[in-house]
């Protein structure tokens, strides 16, 4: 089996983009190709993550359309949709194809617009997001996506005594990290008081507990060990990917606070990479809501079950802490253009492993982990990257 490497990365700023999806993605993709030092002619296949453009922009069959805009028409193209885990799933398939020797060099990326540039206002976009819940047995209750994670987090608060202040501390930490990231949608600090004073979206979450609606794109070039060795740019090895699912509707999940798919995906990824949670130097996790980061760090084994609420308060997960989580600012501060999020996590981690993350660099990082979930955590993809630093 071949060893897959990330050999080039690129992403747009996350925020509000008036540009069409094709142009938005091209910006990230050409940055990734240039970073790798390869032209489009080297790309043998294209893997695209895009979750919602059929609903939000009336735009489908997007992979060949975008490939054509990039001058890649002709190569096999595929588009993935797994709610918020969309582009991690594209990445997994790209890596598997390289590992299997099917392709030597591929382009993987994600793009999405979720702001009013789509023409959709908050209630309409809230409905688009809610469509990831079960069509017959969940959506008709009026559950929103903040509400889905509200159900999981309320249960965590009940079982473990997690508090609203602890949730707010996650937002404060990630906003703080976001101030060090030029690409982040929010570049300002917040405070526990400001979070707790913000209006309720779905209990226990207030506006500042929630990631924003965002537009953006991210891309990576994945290549096998032979191609990677010939390239000028530092490459990082993809040493483990885990991918697992859980039952939908969420009421039938065995444990609402476990995010079992994350535990299963992490077990697979740690096993493949032959490391444990204690070996991870830096992680990007799926903090669509503050409570989601707490569930994630427990599921990944960074803290004991029930202890997740304390981590941000005590600085465990801050830059400079025992296990820095979301140095990019996370979805919370960096932004969450759904289909681009999974790849954007990998862009961030690659930069840390190369020692190119600037002010937010985790010094000496050699092992990095990305956790990207979809829907009510019925999908999770966990990816482990290793550098030589």
């Amino acid at each position: 089996m071949h060893q897959a490497h990330i050999v080039g990365v690129g992403m747009t700023d996350f925020g509000v983009h008036e540009t069409p999806l094709t142009e938005l993605f091209a910006s990230a993709a050409f940055d990734a190709l240039d970073d790798a030092g390869v032209g489009g002619a080297a790309i043998e296949s294209f893997y695209l993550g895009n979750a919602m453009s059929g609903q939000s922009e009336g735009d489908t069959h997007l992979a060949p359309t975008i490939a054509s805009h990039l001058g890649l028409a002709g190569v096999p193209c595929q588009r993935y949709e797994d709610a918020c885990a969309t582009s991690s799933n594209a990445f997994k398939h790209a890596v598997r194809a390289v590992e299997a020797g099917q392709h030597d060099v591929v382009l993987v990326g994600g793009v999405e617009r979720c702001t009013t540039t789509t023409g959709l206002e908050t209630p309409e976009m809230t409905s688009v997001f809610a469509s990831a819940s079960h069509r017959q047995y969940e959506q008709p209750t009026g559950i929103s996506f903040p509400g889905v994670f509200g159900l999981l987090t309320t249960r965590h608060m009940h079982e473990h005594g997690t508090t609203e202040e602890q949730l707010a501390a996650v937002a404060v930490k990630n906003h703080g990290h976001g101030t060090l990231n030029d690409r982040a949608q929010f570049g300002t600090e917040t405070s526990v008081e400001e979070v707790l004073d913000s209006p309720i979206v779905a209990t226990p979450f207030r506006l500042f507990d929630c990631c924003p609606f965002s537009d953006g794109a991210a891309a990576v070039v994945v290549a096998n060990e032979d191609v990677a060795a010939d390239m000028e740019a530092d490459s990082v090895a993809v040493t483990g990917i885990g991918h697992a699912t859980d039952v939908v509707p969420l009421a039938e999940k065995e444990d609402l606070t476990a995010t079992q798919s994350a535990r299963d995906a992490a077990t697979q990824a740690y096993e493949a990479a032959d490391i444990g949670p204690e070996d991870v130097d830096v992680a990007e996790v799926h903090d669509c809501f503050t409570g989601a980061e707490i569930l994630a760090i427990e599921a990944l084994g960074f803290v004991e079950d029930g202890e997740g609420g304390k981590a941000a308060v005590e600085g465990t997960t801050a830059l400079g802490g025992r296990i820095p989580v979301n140095p990019s600012g996370g979805l919370k501060a960096k932004g969450h253009p759904i289909g681009a999020t999974g790849i954007a996590q990998l862009v961030e981690l690659t930069e840390h492993l190369r020692g190119e993350a600037g002010e937010r660099q985790v010094d000496g990082a050699t092992h990095a982990l990305a956790h990207n979930l979809g829907g009510d955590a019925a999908t999770t993809v966990v990816s482990i990257l290793e550098g030589d630093a």
């Binding site: 309409e124 809230t126 008709p140 039938e252």
Partner: protein, 128 residues
């Protein structure tokens, strides 16, 4: 659908539980679920096979209409078609759980019962 047909359904359990028969029962004040004939796992909404063991041998069962509140959220910013400010919860029915709209101010662990059906979209249970 004839009147006779729906009366028959009210008295007996549909052999095959699907969205149509689940909905029909719900409108009659009944909550139907499934038990796996092979491993015994129970669910509160229909699926074509068991997630615990993969068996397609599904038995329709009558679920209790009282349960305890397992978790809840108040949705303030609502999807289209809904007016925010309502509560959605997960109700523990013993062997399984179901998502429902909530009325009243029940806390986690409180006993609540099936109180009606919400039909903004397709029908879902309301517990109070």
């Amino acid at each position: 659908m004839s009147e006779t047909h729906s009366n028959e359904a009210a008295e007996s359990l549909p052999e095959q539980l699907n969205h149509r028969t689940w909905t029909q029962a719900l409108r009659e004040g009944r909550l139907l679920g499934q038990r796996c004939r092979d491993c015994g796992a129970e669910t509160a909404t229909p699926s074509a096979a068991c997630n615990a063991c993969g068996s397609r041998e599904r038995v329709t069962i009558e679920l209790p209409t009282t349960g305890t509140l397992y978790t809840e959220t108040t949705v303030a910013v609502a999807p289209q078609g809904f007016d925010g400010g309502y509560r959605v919860g997960v109700v523990d029915l013993g062997s399984t759980r179901v998502m429902a709209r909530l009325e009243g101010d029940s806390d986690i662990g409180d006993s609540i019962e099936l109180a009606g059906v919400l039909e903004v979209d397709s029908p879902v249970p309301v517990f109070e």
